[in-house]
């Protein structure tokens, strides 16, 4: 039976995992170890979004030595380097093969609804019934674009970081990059280097040096325990989950990318974009304060590192404490900019959110966000993985999957009861059992396709 044949009747399995990225695969690995049968439904190939929704020069914000999943770590020659998107995709495909993950590629979930004792998963390749469901479909699927974007004149090209690939895509002329996360700063730098005038609109942001006292900042975050901080230990969980990604870039030079560096390279830094009226972009007068907040926060973080390192310095062979120049802000920052003649492209680097449009369940709050407690969704046997600060600060990082998955898999398995106990009543047909045996072969077949 071809794995891509559309089945006429539903197949049943204990657990369906939606999404064949690092979280879905790590959960598959955990469930295999627990002896729980499951299937991973993936709309494209394994690591689809790494192959199709990333710009060409993108590299991970974490060094290679940190890039690990349960049972697999980076083993290449450049532990201090940073993987590009293609390398991440290959790392994940290799992982899928290694763990023989039962991934059904090219299978797009169109709807999930509740049925007695579980869920019905409708896909473009047939229907699945399961007792437990894991959402691992990504945290950054839909770009956030402010409503006033629709009021920008047609002759100004607009695109989100999802659609951006390289500067050659953009019209010659000025570019307004909106957003000061890692994405916004990296794109501003790359586009500036292509010769285009770049204006960067900056709201609240997280500033960090690439290296501190001779070590990668991610080493400090990990070693000092910051990345392991649990969401329940945080005063304002809501805010922690909204925090933009730190201003970092992974380059061979391990260079720091901050607003000072960009301004030296000729990027014009302005306040948060508040609106566009009559063809004029309006920027907030809060630029000085958001920069001061980011500088203060960075220095508090470095203070905490220094305190942690006291007494450990010799053991870790650390350099001496250092502090970085305050963010420079123009004496009179630009508050408005006429788009006509100045800006040909607006590039939205304003963050992204998950897409659960296919989830037909009453599990959303009034903002349309999934209601969950540390990954346990407000519905029976429904779990989510990989969202920012889901359980720990590292939850949305590749290396962050391991601990979250271990804990959530344990909850899931406990919720299912003893493994191997099948719920025949769920389907009322015998096809499920039969389909399982056959599907095991089909799944492996699919995994080997992903290898090629």
């Amino acid at each position: 039976m071809s794995p891509h044949a559309v089945r006429r009747s539903a197949a049943s399995v204990d657990v369906v995992i939606v999404g064949g990225g690092h979280c879905g695969l790590a959960m598959s690995h955990a469930l295999t170890r627990h002896g729980v049968e499951h299937v991973v439904l993936e709309r494209g190939a394994v690591a689809n979004s790494w192959r199709t929704e990333r710009w060409d020069s993108l590299r991970l914000l974490t060094p290679n030595w940190m890039t690990r999943l349960p049972g697999r770590a980076y083993g290449g020659p450049d532990p201090d380097g940073y993987m590009g998107a293609g390398e991440v995709a290959d790392f994940l495909s290799g992982y899928a093969m290694q763990i023989s993950a039962p991934v059904l590629t090219g299978t797009t979930v169109s709807k999930v609804s509740a049925i007695s004792g579980g869920y019905r998963i409708s896909t473009d390749r047939g229907e699945w019934h399961c007792r437990a469901l894991v959402l691992a479909s990504g945290a950054f699927s839909l770009p956030n674009v402010p409503p006033f974007a629709s009021g920008i004149a047609q002759d100004v090209q607009q695109l989100s970081a999802h659609r951006y690939r390289h500067p050659g895509q953009l019209a010659e002329g000025g570019v307004l990059v909106v957003g000061a996360s890692a994405t916004g700063l990296q794109l501003a730098q790359e586009i500036r280097q292509s010769g285009r005038p770049v204006t960067l609109a900056v709201g609240e942001h997280v500033r960090m040096p690439r290296l501190y006292r001779g070590r990668d900042i991610q080493w400090w975050l990990l070693a000092s325990g910051v990345l392991d901080q649990r969401i329940e230990e945080i005063d304002d969980a809501e805010r922690a989950r909204r925090l933009p990604s730190p201003q970092l870039v992974g380059t061979p030079e391990r260079a720091t990318l901050d607003l000072n560096a960009l301004q030296r390279q000729g990027v014009s830094v302005v306040g948060r974009l508040m609106g566009v009226r009559g063809g004029t972009a309006q920027f907030s007068g809060s630029l000085r304060n958001v920069c001061a907040l980011a500088d203060l926060k960075m220095n508090r973080l470095l203070d905490a590192f220094d305190q942690w390192a006291r007494g450990r310095g010799a053991a870790c062979d650390l350099g001496t404490p250092e502090r970085f120049a305050a963010t420079e802000v123009d004496a009179s920052p630009t508050l408005s900019l006429s788009l006509a003649g100045n800006i040909r492209t607006v590039l939205w680097a304003t963050g992204a959110r998950p897409d659960y449009s296919w989830l037909d369940l009453p599990v959303f709050d009034r903002h349309g966000r999934l209601r969950h407690d540390r990954g346990v969704v407000d519905a029976p046997s429904l779990y989510v993985l990989g969202l920012p600060y889901l359980r720990r600060r590292k939850s949305s990082f590749i290396h962050g999957a391991e601990d979250d998955v271990r804990e959530i898999a344990a909850l899931l398995v406990a919720g299912l009861g003893a493994p191997g106990v099948q719920v025949k009543y769920l389907l009322g047909t015998g096809s499920g059992t039969n389909a399982r045996g056959q599907s095991t072969f089909a799944w492996n077949h699919t995994a080997s396709q992903a290898r090629r």
């Binding site: 609240e204 306040g271 508040m274 609106g275 009226r277 309006q282 907030s284 007068g285 809060s286 304060n289 958001v290 001061a292 907040l293 203060l296 220095n299 508090r300 009179s332 009034r366």
Partner: protein, 188 residues
């Protein structure tokens, strides 16, 4: 240094504020407020504004007493100087808002304040309001605020207080970001 052992006494009921935050997250409709003023022309450039009621927490509310504010312009504007100029009231609002924020944040961080003094200065080129030069805006070309704070805190903690207060300040937001203003008139 910040004395963590004692509880700071700044006269701000942080528990009530945090309680309100929690309650209003659950009842967002009650969080919708309407602030109001009435104003009447007195004579010349002199007007008198009155603050009395406002709407919030799902119903009409009242201040403990009405407050009145006279606005006018100084004698060098050929006016009678019966009150502060309206633009100076903007500074009053900004100072009041930022200072209240500093007190609240300090209380929440258990920092004892002893004195908080602000000096504000706003630049303006009156060629704008006089219509001499269309390239000059009517309003401020910038506002400078300086705080002198005596508190049980490090300079970094004080800088963080002031930064956090700006981040949460309504008037700071109103003056730094565009606001839609809709003015209508009717004949009586």
């Amino acid at each position: 240094m910040n004395m963590q052992s004692a509880t700071a006494m700044n006269g701000v009921n942080v528990e009530a504020l945090l309680g309100a935050r929690a309650a209003l997250s659950e009842a967002p409709q009650a969080a919708r407020f309407k602030w109001r003023a009435t104003s009447e022309w007195m004579h010349g450039t002199h007007a008198r504004s009155t603050i009395d009621g406002y709407y919030g927490l799902g119903g009409e509310q009242k201040h403990r007493q009405p407050f009145q504010f006279d606005t006018d312009h100084p004698e060098i504007f050929a006016a009678e100087d019966m009150g502060a100029t309206p633009v100076e009231y903007v500074l009053v609002g900004l100072a009041g808002c930022l200072t209240a924020g500093i007190a609240a944040v300090a209380q929440n961080r258990n920092i004892q304040l002893r004195s908080v003094k602000a000096t504000l200065e706003a630049g303006m080129d009156i060629q704008g309001i006089l219509g001499i030069d269309a390239n000059v805006r009517n309003g401020f070309d910038g506002i400078k605020v300086h705080y002198q704070i005596d508190a049980d805190a490090t300079p970094e903690q004080i800088a963080a207080l002031v930064a956090q207060s700006q981040k949460r300040s309504a008037v700071f937001d109103i003056v730094t970001n565009p606001t839609d203003v809709h003015v209508t008139a009717s004949k009586v």
